[in-house]
C-alpha cells in the first residue's frame, strides 16, 4: 500500500456475547454516531432499534418505479392502439383504462420490481468489490463466533484516540485501527 494514500478507515473492536454488543450498540447510538456499523454472524432481533437505524429508503424507489410503470403502460397502450395505429378490437374504444388494465398493472409491478432491485443496489452502494474491513485478519470470525463494532473515520465525531478509548469503555476487545 502506498504511503501517501494510506488513510484511516476507522476503528474496530470485537465482542463475544450478543448482550454485550447489543448494549454497546445502544451506547454508540446514544453518543450520536452516524457512520458506524455492527457486524454479526446472524441477525439480532432489535438491533435496528439499538443502532437507531432509520427505515430503508428503498420503498420510495419502489413507489416511484410503480408510478412510472403505470404511466409507461398508459403511454404504451395509448400510443400503439389509439395514436400510432388506431385499431378497434372487439368493439372496445381506442383507449380506455379498462381493456389495457392487465398491461398497466403488469408494467406497474415490473417497474416497481426494478425500483426495488436497483434501489437496494443504489442504497447499499453495490456493486462494490472490496472493502477495507476485509483487510482485518480476524474479520472472517464475524461470520462465525464474534461480534464487531466499527466506528468509521468519516463520522464528524471521529478522533482516533478518543474513539479507541470509547470502544474500550464499551467493553470492546481487540481494538484495531483499519487503514484504507
Amino acid at each position: 500500500m502506498n504511503e501517501r494514500n494510506e488513510r484511516i478507515h476507522g476503528v474496530a473492536c470485537t465482542f463475544r456475547k450478543v448482550s454485550d454488543v447489543f448494549h454497546a450498540a445502544e451506547k454508540v447510538r446514544d453518543a450520536g454516531w452516524k457512520n458506524w456499523d455492527v457486524h454479526t454472524p446472524f441477525p439480532i432481533h432489535g438491533m435496528d432499534q439499538a443502532m437507531g437505524m432509520p427505515r430503508s429508503p428503498v420503498p420510495r424507489l419502489t413507489l416511484l418505479g410503480g408510478v412510472t410503470g403505470f404511466i409507461t403502460g398508459c403511454l404504451l397502450t395509448w400510443y400503439t392502439n389509439s395514436y400510432d395505429y388506431p385499431l378497434i378490437v372487439g368493439g372496445k374504444p381506442y383507449w380506455s383504462v379498462i381493456f389495457p388494465f392487465p398491461v398497466l398493472y403488469e408494467c406497474t409491478i415490473l417497474f416497481a420490481a426494478f425500483g426495488t432491485f436497483f434501489g437496494q443496489f443504489i442504497f447499499n452502494r453495490l456493486p462494490r468489490h472490496n472493502h477495507p474491513l476485509f483487510e482485518l485478519p480476524n474479520f472472517s470470525r464475524v461470520s462465525d463466533d464474534t461480534f464487531m463494532i466499527v466506528l468509521e473515520a468519516r463520522d464528524p465525531q471521529f478522533h482516533l484516540d478518543e474513539s479507541r478509548n470509547f470502544l474500550q469503555s464499551l467493553g470492546g476487545q481487540e481494538i484495531t485501527v483499519i487503514r484504507d
Partner: protein, 423 residues
Amino acid sequence: MSSSSPHALTAHWKKFLGAGVVAMAVLWYFACAGVAHHENRQALSILVGSLFWISVLIGMLMLTMITRVFDAGWAPIIRRNWELLIIALPVVIVLGVAPLAFSTSFRHALWDWTDAAHVLPSGHAVGHDPILQAKSWFLNEKFFLIRVSLYVLVFGVLATLLRRWSFAQDTDRTAGHTHRLHAVSAVGIPLSAVTLTMLAFDCLMALSYHWFSTMYGVWFFALSIRLALAVTVILTYRLSNGGWLDGLLNQAHRHVLGCLMLAFTVFWAYISFSQYFLIYTANIPEETFWYNIREFDPATGLKNQWWGVSMYMIFGFFLLPFLSLLFYRTKIVAGRLLTVAWIILIGGIVDLWFNALPRQVYDKSAPEGFVVTPFLTSSLFLDLLAIAGFGAIVIALFLRSASKQETIPVHDPRILESINYHE
C-alpha cells in the same frame, strides 16, 4: 391472566344476547310482514345481515386454519380470539340463511328460481325457463336444501374440532394437539374452499340465477378475509385497551395484520376487476346484464345509483385502503390501522349490497319490461339493524366462550414466540 378469573368483559355476554334476540324478533317480524305483502326486501335484509357475519367468520375460520398449517409464530394470541368466535358461524347460518331457505314462502320470495310461477323480465314464468332447466342439476330445491344443511355441518364440525383441541391443550399441555390441528386444517382448507364457493353461489349469485361467474367463490373468499382482518384489527384494538390483550399486542402484531390487510385488498381488487374484465371483454349478454343493471338505466342509458356504488367500490374500498396501507406507519400506528379497518368494514358492507340488492323487477309499463331496484332506500337501515343484530349474537357467543376458556393459549408451543413477536 389465570383460568380461575375470567375477564370482566365476558360478563356482558347476556346483554349482547338479549340485544341480538330483540333484533332477530324485529327483523323476522318485518320479514314475515313483508312476505305476506309479496315484498322480499325485508327478508333480503336478513340475508345481507347474516351474510356479512358469515363472511367475517368464514374469513376467521380460514385464517385459523391457514395460520395452523403454516405454523405462524405470530398467530397464537390473535388466533385464540378467532377460535372463540368461529363457533358463531354455524349459528349465524342457522339463524339467518337456513330459515330463509327452508321456509317455502321466504325461499320463493328471495330465490326467483325456486318459484316456478315467478314472472321474469321477459314476461315468461320461471317454470318455462330453458336457462334454469339447463342448470337444474344444481339449482333444484332438494339439492339446495341439502347444500344449506351441509354448510352448517361442514363449518360446524370444523369450528368444533379447531376449538376442542386448541382448548384441550390449555389444560393437558400436549403438543400432539398442535399436530392434530395441523392435520384438520390441511383437510379443512380445501373443504372450506368448496363449501364457501357453493355458499356464495347459493346465497348471492343465485339471487340473479341467469348470471354466472366462475370467479365468484374466490371473490367471496377475498372479501371474507378482508372483513375478517378488519374485524380482527378492531377487536384486538379493543382487547388491548382494557381486555385480555392488554400489554400483549405489540407493534409487530399490528404490522403483520396490516400487511395481510394490504395483500388481501390487492387480491380483492384483482379478483373483482378480473371478473368485470372477463365479462367486459367477452361481451356476452347473459353475463353483461349483471353489470349493466349496476351501471345505467336500461331504458334511458343514464347512470343509475348503482354506478355511484361501483365508483365507491373502486375508490373507497380499493384505492383508499390500498394507498393508505402502502405506508409503513399506517400499519404500525394503532389509530391509523383502526381507521383503515373501519374503512374496509364499511366497504365490505357496501360490496355485499352491490352484489345482493340490484334486481330486475318485472314491470309491464317499463320500456325494457323491467325496472332495477334503486340503491338508496330506507331498507338500508333494516340491513344495518340486521348486521348489528347478528353481530350482537356473534359477540355474545364470543364473550360466553371467553368466559369458559383461556383467552390466551397458554400452552401453545409457539405462545412465547407469539407474545415476543418481532418484525
